[in-house]
């Protein structure tokens, strides 16, 4: 009856096997075993696209200098289509099939949270270049022995909230005498702790929170949201957006909402944001860990320029962190003298690395945010940047600021 079945099934299987064998044969051969790092990222998304590129760049730099103890660093990349399921599959493939030693994964918190148990199950160190949810580090803290393989290579939401508040205090409260704010954030895992952080620190710096609006990341029409905010008459909108970015910004401008926006806006960190919004971005203030014009550390500018030369645009925020993370993993392997997972975890915990966004150290087992980036002066504080005339200009902290606040004409900064 089904005499066609078996040849066809066998056919696809053998093709698959053949293709896999071919793939292995084609992978560049090195004298010593390479250190393999899997990179799982969102190839089609603004923030995600820089991740594999930056990692590749770091690996090439390390290899150009002779590798780590004679071992080359090899990057294996996977597109996860922004989906947790695809990511899980990619993670399994990376560990089981491609035998990677560590994984750099995703800027989406939900994806990282889905991968975290797999890092434990498959005992493979994983580090995220861009996710922010506090849950990631909390899981490590609560069940250290199981979840110690996960590292949070980007500021936690709580730290991001602190960074935003610190900047708002100097720029808005001290600088512009602002007194009130409305929080506007998308409904996602990473904004929950962010909002809690905002609610906590904004009143402390002197900004009264008048309203708090959370909206679905599927939202396309922001008119009602802006109108509602405007009705509350705040001095500033504090943002927490990542999945959306272009649309609220453009509508903010089209509707000439007379209130400045400041906060987290992941898409604004990307250098193409100005073009994508037809320059509606002018005036947007966003928190970043880096900027194309900001020498946070001596490594920042060379990396940004090198990246632009190589890929045609400046990296997204996750590009900076991914670049550093490859170095950090390589450094940890060197110190551990092995790619054994547990030894790498021990070594990573002792990381003290000056990267492109500051000095990287991880919180310890007893700290609240175990394996999270340490936040603070001398370590990482983050920056506040503003889109001005189609360019990203750093405005905070003073030490690195290249410009002062500048708003489009429809913004009324009254308490000047």
């Amino acid at each position: 009856m089904a005499h066609n079945t078996s040849p066809r099934a066998a056919w696809s299987l053998s093709v698959l096997l053949g293709a896999t064998a071919l793939g292995l044969a084609m992978s560049p051969a090195f004298a010593a075993d390479p250190i393999k790092i899997g990179v799982i990222a969102e190839a089609q998304a603004i923030a995600g696209a820089s991740i594999p590129q930056a990692a590749q760049m770091a690996a090439e730099e390390i290899n150009a200098k002779g590798g780590i103890d004679g071992r080359k660093v090899e990057i294996v990349t996977y597109d996860n289509h922004s989906s947790s399921a695809d990511s899980v599959r990619a993670f399994q493939r990376a560990v089981n099939e491609d035998k990677v030693n560590a994984v750099i994964a995703s800027y989406i918190s939900e994806v990282v949270l889905a991968l975290e148990p797999w890092a434990s199950r498959l005992k493979t160190p994983m580090i995220t270049p861009g996710a922010a949810s506090n849950e990631i580090t909390r899981a490590v803290h609560d069940n250290y022995d199981k979840n110690k393989y996960t590292f949070h290579g980007y500021l936690t939401s709580a730290a991001l909230a602190l960074s935003v508040c610190d900047a708002a205090k100097e720029l808005l409260v001290d600088g512009k005498k602002m007194k009130s704010a409305v929080i506007m954030s998308e409904d996602a895992a990473w904004t929950k702790p962010l909002d809690i952080g905002y609610e906590e620190c904004l009143p402390k710096i002197g900004l009264k929170v008048l309203d708090h609006i959370r909206f679905s990341p599927d939202t396309t029409d922001f008119t009602p949201i802006f109108n509602k905010i405007e009705a509350a008459k705040p001095d500033v909108i504090i943002t927490g957006i990542s999945h959306v970015g272009v649309q609220p910004t453009v509508q903010w401008k089209n509707q000439q909402v007379p209130i400045p926006m400041l906060g987290i806006s992941s898409q604004a960190t990307n250098s193409t944001f100005g073009k994508d919004t037809n320059d509606a971005s002018n005036g947007v203030l966003y928190q970043g860990v880096s900027g194309p014009d900001v020498p946070v550390t001596p490594k920042s500018l060379p990396f940004a320029e090198g990246f632009k030369k190589k890929f045609g645009n400046y990296p997204s925020y996750a590009g900076y962190t991914a670049y550093d993370e490859v170095y950090m993993i390589a450094d940890a392997v060197k110190r551990a003298g092995s790619t054994d997972a547990d030894k790498m975890v021990d070594a990573l915990e002792k990381t003290d690395w000056e990267g492109t966004i500051g000095r990287v150290q991880f919180y310890g087992k007893e700290d609240k945010f175990t394996h999270g980036l340490k936040y603070g002066k001398g370590l990482i504080t983050g920056l506040m940047l503003q889109w001005q005339d189609g360019k990203q200009v750093s405005v905070w902290p003073k030490e690195v600021a290249k410009g002062t606040l500048k708003f489009p004409s429809f913004i009324k900064v009254t308490s000047n």
Partner: protein
């Protein structure tokens, strides 16, 4: 004040929904096809308009025109590459053609979506608005672009009405939607009528897409939701009924705006969907649908 605000904002979004759904329902009415690549064609128009302006530095009018033309071409291609082969296939039983058309247009839509994502990433794109700035309507600050959107939508729908009801070609199209065999025996080639209808549909979807790109912005992620919203509106209004779709578009548009203002933006789409379910149980042919 808030009431007026809802009235104004709701109108623009409803008019845009109406324009998007009109073409969708027209195609169904005339050729019995539920084109599930609808959202993809709209997004394609917006992205083409964006690319024309941003990448090739055309002015916003030419950009919009490029978007509309590309949508029309893509729509005609949809008919020839996907719909016609199924309608003419003698291997597919007639009673299963419907599901084949649905599945095939969906796949076609996914292909367009993936190509857009491949060449232009899935970042949201906003088309450079033709008019900028805001006006104050009785205390409600309204972007001129929003008014422009509403006006263009109404004009285009009016024009369509005129085309269908007042021109000879339109009459034939209308007749074909009631009785395809009837127009054949009167000596009109159905294929030609279908091409005309798909072209009109493409222009409508193109205009809707470009306006959406100016008004709210689109990304390749919008493909699914756009198809779903056009689909819901058309089902609510009654399959194949243009006036039903118009009413449904305004019902959905205002219901969403009202929910977003009065309850929470997060629940925006829920009441409209619930209404849809209720209507489907009580009156499965939709508000103005024919059984």
């Amino acid at each position: 004040m808030l009431g007026l605000q809802i009235l104004i904002d709701g109108f623009a979004i409803s008019a845009l929904y109406a324009l998007g759904a009109t073409g969708f329902t027209l195609i169904f009415g005339v050729s019995g096809v539920l084109n599930l690549s609808h959202g993809a064609i709209m997004v394609l128009a917006a992205v083409a308009a964006w690319a024309a302006a941003s990448v090739f530095h055309l002015d916003s009018y030419s950009g919009a025109l490029v978007g509309i033309v590309i949508a029309a071409l893509c729509s005609i291609a949809t008919y020839f590459a996907v719909v016609q082969p199924i309608q003419r296939s003698n291997k597919i039983p007639n009673e299963e053609k419907e599901i084949f058309v649905l599945t095939a247009t969906l796949l076609w839509g996914i292909m367009i979506q993936e190509l857009i994502a491949y060449f232009f990433t899935n970042n949201a794109k906003t088309v450079l608005p033709i008019v900028e700035g805001v006006v104050n309507i009785v205390g409600v600050r309204t972007p001129k672009n929003e008014i422009f959107t509403a006006v263009v939508c109404c004009l285009v729908i009016g024009l369509l009405w005129f085309l269908v009801n007042r021109t000879r070609t339109g009459k034939v199209v209308l007749a074909a939607s009631m009785n395809p065999r009837g127009v054949t025996i009167l000596g009109f080639e159905l294929t030609n009528i279908y091409i005309i209808v798909w072209a009109i549909y493409g222009v409508l979807a193109g205009i809707a897409g470009v306006l959406l790109g100016m008004f709210l912005g689109v990304s390749s992620y919008s493909v699914g939701p756009l198809t779903a919203s056009a689909f819901s509106i058309v089902v609510l209004g009654g399959l194949g009924s243009v006036s039903g779709s118009l009413i449904a578009a305004f019902v959905v548009g205002y219901l969403e705006t009202f929910t977003a203002y009065m309850i929470s933006p997060a629940y925006r789409t829920i009441p409209a969907l619930l209404l849809l379910v209720i209507v489907m149980y009580i009156r499965p042919q939709g508000l103005l649908g024919r059984r």
